[in-house]
């Protein structure tokens, strides 16, 4: 089956003209600028999809299994491809590249115990997925997607998953015994030691490496429902593994650029007696700190979340009849009760940073977040833990 992509903005093929403001003679003057280069050759994305599914039940359907495998290949992938800015435009929406998505989705439902007074049901589902860029443009050159912060770090590269993180690998800090070597990079003991990948004696953007990917290897839910007489309990867990999170808050929170409070991790900063650390020495702000897209900003995104735990009680018929009700149930629910994760930010399900909403006033102008750039955290809000008490009434 071949399908398209309906998530395409309007008028993307046209050279659009937008209004801006200027001032003449102490009064507003409307101006216009051409803001998109226009691409009349724009066509639909073409995705061909192969599915294979199996579902079966065992033991009188006490165990049911649904398994689905898919392979999707997208041709004429629509991307906001970067342009040389000498054109007057930053990017053009165009058909460029091929992408492959494949995966397995598995759902197992079991009835573990089923008796008059007690029942226990389990539902487990897991999705394994892999995505890979197969081709980009005519020459397979890397493409960087928005948002951009510090430098371009959302990499599309043939052979890698879409939305890979790209930056410098931090090897630690320069030690006092390495002062001479550090000096060849213009640095001092206590400065960050960045991997000189190409060994040319300089740290430049050519030394950047792939630091992680935003898409997980797998995710799913594990739900158990128990009922004992009139009491029911549902425990709903959610899990996710294999992805990384770009924790940009560490830019100001750990790199100490002088503009925000720091993470407690800076207590482990380099000192002559604490040299085995990846946190640069603490210095007055005017001396300056290194800050870039570092491997130390990339974190493991695995988690298990207690998404919802619900405890309910169904009032017996003797009471509901008196009240002329069909059913009466009270329940208490805790949402987002716990998260087990090594991620150090507020929540591993991050809301992806978009330059539009952040501190920048448009210096860099890389505003649109792409569909492929996920898992980027920058001063996000914590996810609330919610407690609900409810009453279900059926007449």
């Amino acid at each position: 089956m071949v399908t398209g992509n309906s998530e395409i903005g309007s008028y993307q093929s046209q050279a659009q003209i937008n209004t801006v403001n200027y001032v003449f003679g102490g009064a507003q003057a409307i101006g216009t600028q051409q803001i998109t280069i226009g691409n009349e050759d724009l066509s639909w994305e073409k995705t061909s999809e192969y599915d294979f599914g199996v579902s079966f039940g065992l033991f009188n359907n006490r165990v049911t299994v649904d398994a689905d495998a898919y392979l999707k290949k997208t041709k004429a992938l629509l991307l906001d491809a970067p342009l040389p800015e000498s054109s007057g435009f930053k990017s053009v929406y165009k058909n460029t590249g091929k992408l492959e998505n494949k995966g397995i989705e598995l759902t197992i439902n079991t009835v573990n115990v089923k008796s008059e007074n007690f029942s226990w049901n389990t539902s487990f589902n897991i999705s394994f997925l892999k995505n890979k860029v197969l081709q980009l443009g005519a020459s397979n050159d890397d493409i960087f997607l928005n948002p951009t912060f510090l430098s371009q770090f959302n990499l599309m590269r043939v052979g890698l998953p879409a939305g890979s993180f790209y930056g410098y690998k931090v090897l630690g800090t320069w030690g006092t015994s390495e002062a001479a070597k550090a000096a060849t990079y213009g640095l001092f003991p206590g400065d960050l030691k960045i991997q000189d990948t190409n060994n040319d004696g300089k740290v430049t953007s050519a030394d950047k490496v792939v630091l992680g990917k935003s898409t997980p290897d797998g995710y799913g839910t594990f739900s158990n429902t128990f009922r004992y007489k009139a009491v029911d309990l549902a425990v709903d867990l959610q899990f996710n593994y294999g992805n990384q999170i770009m924790n940009l808050t560490r830019h100001s929170g750990q790199d100490r650029t002088g503009q925000a409070n720091s993470y407690a991790t800076v207590l482990n900063a380099w000192t002559p007696t604490n040299q085995n650390t990846s946190i640069a020495e603490s210095r007055p702000a005017y001396v300056g700190y290194q800050t870039e897209i570092y491997s130390t900003k990339v974190e493991n995104g695995n988690f298990i979340r207690g998404r919802a735990v619900t405890l309910g009680y169904n009032f017996p018929e003797s009471i509901t009849k008196k009240l002329k009700l069909n059913r009466l149930r009270i329940y208490a629910q805790a949402q987002n009760l716990f998260v087990i994760t090594k991620y150090t930010g507020y929540d591993p399900e991050v809301s992806t940073y978009n330059n539009n909403t952040a501190i920048t006033q448009g210096t860099q102008g890389h505003n649109n977040t792409s569909n492929f750039t996920q898992g980027i955290q920058f001063y996000d809000y914590p996810k609330p833990r919610t407690f609900l008490f409810g009453l279900n009434v059926s007449l």
């Binding site: 071949v2 398209g4 309007s10 008028y11 046209q14 050279a15 003209i17 209004t19 403001n21 200027y22 001032v23 003449f24 003679g25 009064a27 507003q28 003057a29 409307i30 101006g31 216009t32 600028q33 051409q34 280069i37 691409n39 066509s43 073409k46 061909s48 192969y50 599915d51 294979f52 599914g53 579902s55 079966f56 039940g57 065992l58 009188n60 970067p82 342009l83 040389p84 800015e85 000498s86 054109s87 007057g88 435009f89 930053k90 165009k94 890397d142 430049t204 953007s205 650029t257 002088g258 503009q259 702000a285 001396v287 300056g288 290194q290 870039e292 920048t360 006033q361 210096t363 860099q364």
Partner: protein, 499 residues
């Protein structure tokens, strides 16, 4: 337990269909009624005017920036070595220390915005020509577009050296989409040709509303001639052209009687101000005062006090004794009443730039709409004096010009100098009068000299230590081509030593 497959069911779906969506029609035409599109724009004189206004809007890029203090007007100044930058910007510190690199976002801001302006100027020049409108009006509009294109190319060619020279609108299929670099000499030829076109387009001598005037065209062209007479082109015959070009400007403008008029709201675009970008609260504002007041001291009703461009003490002390400009609240200030507590006087412990302080917003809303000055009369006067001196040594007319500036500063007039002494005197006056106005770095580029403020002399730019203990690397005569541009266009090469 043994498996009981009594209830066994298998269903499968295997779908391999290859039907191209029938609804996709290549000739599908979207009519965009909500927005303007280029193909249907440029039908009326008012649209022509509006589109040219849009090019001016890119002048704001010099104040683009954020709480880091990385505005281009600061980045350009830090390359001259006479400012410190406290606060938050790692990139600013790296520029001061000569250890920055091609990913510094300031380099991309200037590149990107300049080319956006040029792209819109190219579109204007091509698309306004066929519009039916009075010839004189059309000529003036095109003159403004020529000036603005030249203005942005002039910044590009000085900052980046050889740059792609694009003079027609770029489309997705044009060869200019992935251009190579054009030799700086050819870029300068284009700039001069554009400014000559602007010069004969019927623009008024002066314009107090902020539009391009003939005075602005002449001053900019004179600056181009002076620059091309120096490094790297060394077309010394252009000194005479610079002097001749700027001479008429000297009589159509006059100096303010008060330095405060340079940065207040009442005197925008007037008297000695030749070309500014114009701001207005509610339309377009900037952070010039926030960026230039001392770091974290409560000066003015501003939310930020960024200290991103503070003169070095040594530079401040390089003025002659008795220079009015160094007196409190002339060009500089070192104390100010605390915001909302005027009884408390804040002592800065350093000299900040009063020439960028905006009293109206400091005592008012904390939102600045002071104008940014690109060209003002003293620069024209000093171009005239310098160019004339190079051609024929000190003349009375050139003494008159520099002495007008000195007299306003309560300094004795200059006289009886040799050609070399006069040249040095003019250079110093450029530093002192046009201090922190984005002139110094360009002077270093064209003269290969830096102002050694400690010894009050000019030294070779790449062997003389500045007051911040930095000796400029030859690499720093140019900015790097922004890394993003190099990554996106493989035809580009990087400037020397920036790799």
């Amino acid at each position: 337990m043994k498996f009981n497959l009594k209830k066994y069911r298998i269903s499968y779906s295997l779908l391999i269909l290859t039907i191209v969506l029938g609804s996709c029609n290549k000739d599908l035409v979207e009519k965009n009624k909500g927005n303007f599109v280029k193909s249907t724009y440029f039908t009326s004189p008012s649209q022509a005017r509006t589109f040219v206004n849009g090019i001016y809007q890119k002048l704001y890029m010099f104040q683009n920036g954020d709480a880091y203090g990385e505005s281009p007007f600061i980045t350009i100044e830090l390359f001259a070595g006479h400012a410190t930058s406290l606060g938050q910007s790692v990139n600013n510190g790296n520029v001061i220390k000569n250890v920055t690199d091609a990913v510094n976002p300031g380099f991309e801001t200037v590149w990107s915005n300049s080319y956006t302006a040029i792209s819109n100027a190219n579109i204007a020049l091509e698309s306004i020509a066929p519009i039916v409108m009075p010839d004189a009006d059309k000529k003036k509009l095109l003159g403004e577009a020529y000036f603005l294109r030249a203005f942005f190319y002039y910044h590009l060619v000085r900052l980046y050296g050889d740059v792609p020279l694009i003079t027609t609108p770029v489309t997705i299929s044009s060869p200019d989409l992935y251009p190579s670099r054009t030799a700086a000499a050819a870029v300068y030829d284009q700039i001069i040709s554009d400014l000559k076109a602007a010069e004969t387009s019927g623009l008024p001598d002066k314009d107090e509303t902020g539009h391009v005037s003939l005075g602005a065209v002449r001053t900019l062209l004179a600056s181009v001639y002076l620059t091309t007479a120096g490094f790297p082109l060394n077309k010394t015959e252009n000194y005479a052209l610079a002097a001749a070009e700027v001479a008429p400007v000297l009589t159509s403008y006059s100096l303010f009687t008060d330095y405060a008029f340079l940065h207040d709201n009442a005197h925008k675009n007037q008297t000695e101000l030749i070309f500014q970008s114009n701001y207005l609260v509610g339309v377009a504002t900037n952070a010039i005062p926030q960026l230039t007041i001392p770091f974290n001291l409560l000066v003015g009703a501003y939310g930020d006090h960024l200290g991103a461009m503070i003169p070095t003490d040594a530079f401040f002390k390089s003025y002659e004794a008795g220079d009015l400009r160094t007196e409190e609240r002339q060009f500089y200030f070192s104390s100010y009443p605390k915001d909302k507590d005027p009884g408390t006087i804040i002592q800065f412990g350093e000299h900040a730039l009063y020439k960028y302080f905006h009293v109206e917003s400091a005592l008012g809303s904390g939102i600045s709409d002071e104008n940014w000055t690109f060209l003002r009369l003293p620069e024209a006067m000093l171009i005239y004096a310098e160019a004339t001196n190079e051609v024929s040594g000190p003349t009375q007319a050139s003494y008159d010009q520099i002495n007008l500036i000195r007299t306003r500063a309560h300094l004795d007039p200059l006289k009886n100098l040799t050609k070399d002494q006069f040249r040095i005197a003019i250079w110093k006056e450029r530093y002192h009068e046009l201090a922190y106005e984005n002139k110094a770095y360009f002077d270093i580029q064209r003269t290969h000299k830096i102002y050694d403020v400690i010894n009050n002399t000019f030294g070779d730019a790449t062997t003389t230590k500045n007051e911040q203990n930095v000796t400029m690397k030859a690499q720093y005569y140019l900015w790097p081509i922004p890394q993003r541009e190099i990554s996106t266009n493989t035809k580009l090469t990087q400037n020397p030593d920036w790799n």
